[in-house]
């Protein structure tokens, strides 16, 4: 009985911690920390041979729904969609499957984004701050289902051609009141 109580308590504490982390809005980013930004990947033949960059605090981005959703926004903004589509691939490799050329760890993906890879993947070093690289890495991992469900974006419309939730160009004007005639 006591054991069960203790287990229950542990579970409760664990779920509180998980929930706190999952829901945390990381508004203040930790300072950049990785030297990897300045090392240059010459060849893609030995993936993971050099040290894999580590996120500033373990799982900070991988387990935060906010970070993943920020990553999703950046994925659109920085036009990752242009080559990878919404995970389905195009010019670049698809990101929804489980085939990883350069490794599936957050550090691998981060390195891919920051350093670029041969055959087309540009380097975003100096273009985007480091934490955005981690956020993007987290989102990319969520596309492949590598993140816990509670963290991943809910709407499974990565494959949709249209943007997930924003206005489109063809809109129905409405409520035009009190506007000069020639504008109606």
């Amino acid at each position: 009985m006591r054991l069960r109580l203790q287990l229950g308590l542990l579970f409760a504490i664990a779920s509180v911690l998980v929930s706190c982390q999952r829901e945390d809005r990381i508004l203040r980013q930790p300072p950049p920390a990785n030297d990897i930004l300045n090392t240059i990947q010459i060849s893609g033949l030995n993936p993971g041979a050099t040290s894999i960059p580590t996120p500033p605090s373990s799982n900070m981005y991988q387990e935060s729904a906010y970070a993943v959703s920020e990553g999703q926004k950046l994925f659109e903004q920085y036009n990752c969609v242009g080559c990878h589509a919404h995970g389905g691939g195009g010019i670049g490799p698809p990101l929804m499957d489980r085939d990883w050329i350069y490794g599936s760890e957050p550090g691998n993906i981060f390195a891919t984004i920051m350093q670029g890879r041969p055959n087309g993947m540009p380097s975003f070093r100096n273009r985007i701050p480091e934490y955005q690289g981690w956020e993007l890495a987290a989102y990319v991992r969520s596309l492949a289902g590598l993140l816990p469900k509670g963290v991943s974006p809910n709407r499974p419309d990565q494959m949709n051609v249209k943007p997930s939730e924003s206005s489109t160009s063809e809109q129905k004007p409405t409520g035009i009141t009190g506007v000069p005639e020639q504008h109606k």
Binding site: R155, P156, D157, K172
Partner: protein
């Protein structure tokens, strides 16, 4: 089994005398002769069931409003989809219409206290509900859209999904009542419950037919 209307068994007011006379003893309203089971609109559960149907009906009405509201936001309807295929939908509509018969039968025989008729009626009704549910499963596969396609598809799925929820609830309720009717407990208020169950089945049928009109009709003729 004797059945008498309420008007035949008035509650007996004790002798009240005149209000102005001095009080001799407290006066009474004797209700001991009143019956303990009521059918139809006098039953309290019947009233609760009406309220429940009002709530559910309101939810359906709002979903219908949502459907037409979203209709105004799109030029073509259904937007970029084929209308849902008719086969299963029409079959199910027919099943609904025919299932009114056993429901009516149960509702009619229950006040007579005819336990056998009620039991058989419930069984037939449950079979109808079961078949309708089975067809409903196939209906989902022929909607020609997926709920995550666009707002139209979402509405269609939620409309038919909501109704399926009611269908399954009603199926379970009918099965439970049928199970009760196999025991000696099927007496008194339980018979009234069986009759109320038929009322609710009418509701499920009517909303089902309206949902069908929306899903299969307006997509073709609107």
């Amino acid at each position: 089994m004797a059945t008498r209307a309420i008007s035949d068994t008035p509650a007996k007011w004790g002798d009240m005398g005149s209000i102005n006379e001095p009080i001799r003893r407290p006066l009474t309203l004797d209700v001991s002769s009143l019956p303990s089971v009521a059918f139809g609109h006098r039953n309290t559960t019947w009233l609760a069931n009406v309220f429940y149907m009002a709530i559910e009906g309101m939810m359906f009405a709002l979903m219908f409003a949502t459907y037409f509201y979203l209709r105004t936001r799109s030029t073509d309807w259904p937007p970029g989809h084929l209308p849902p295929a008719l086969t299963y939908g029409v079959t199910n509509a027919l099943i609904f219409v025919f299932s009114l018969a056993p429901a009516w039968w149960v509702r009619r025989r229950a006040p007579e206290g005819d336990r056998r008729a009620v039991r058989n009626g419930l069984l037939v009704l449950a079979l109808f509900a079961l078949v309708a549910t089975a067809f409903r499963v196939f209906e989902f596969t022929t909607l020609n859209c997926r709920w995550s396609d666009d707002a139209y598809s979402s509405t269609v799925w939620v409309l038919i999904g909501m109704h399926s929820g009611h269908l399954v609830t009603e199926l379970i309720e009918t099965l439970v009542l049928f199970a009760i009717s196999l025991t000696p407990k099927m007496e008194g208020t339980r018979l009234a419950d069986a009759a109320i169950n038929s009322d609710y089945w009418y509701f499920v049928v009517i909303t089902g037919l309206i949902v069908d009109v929306l899903i299969y009709g307006t997509t073709r003729f609107l």
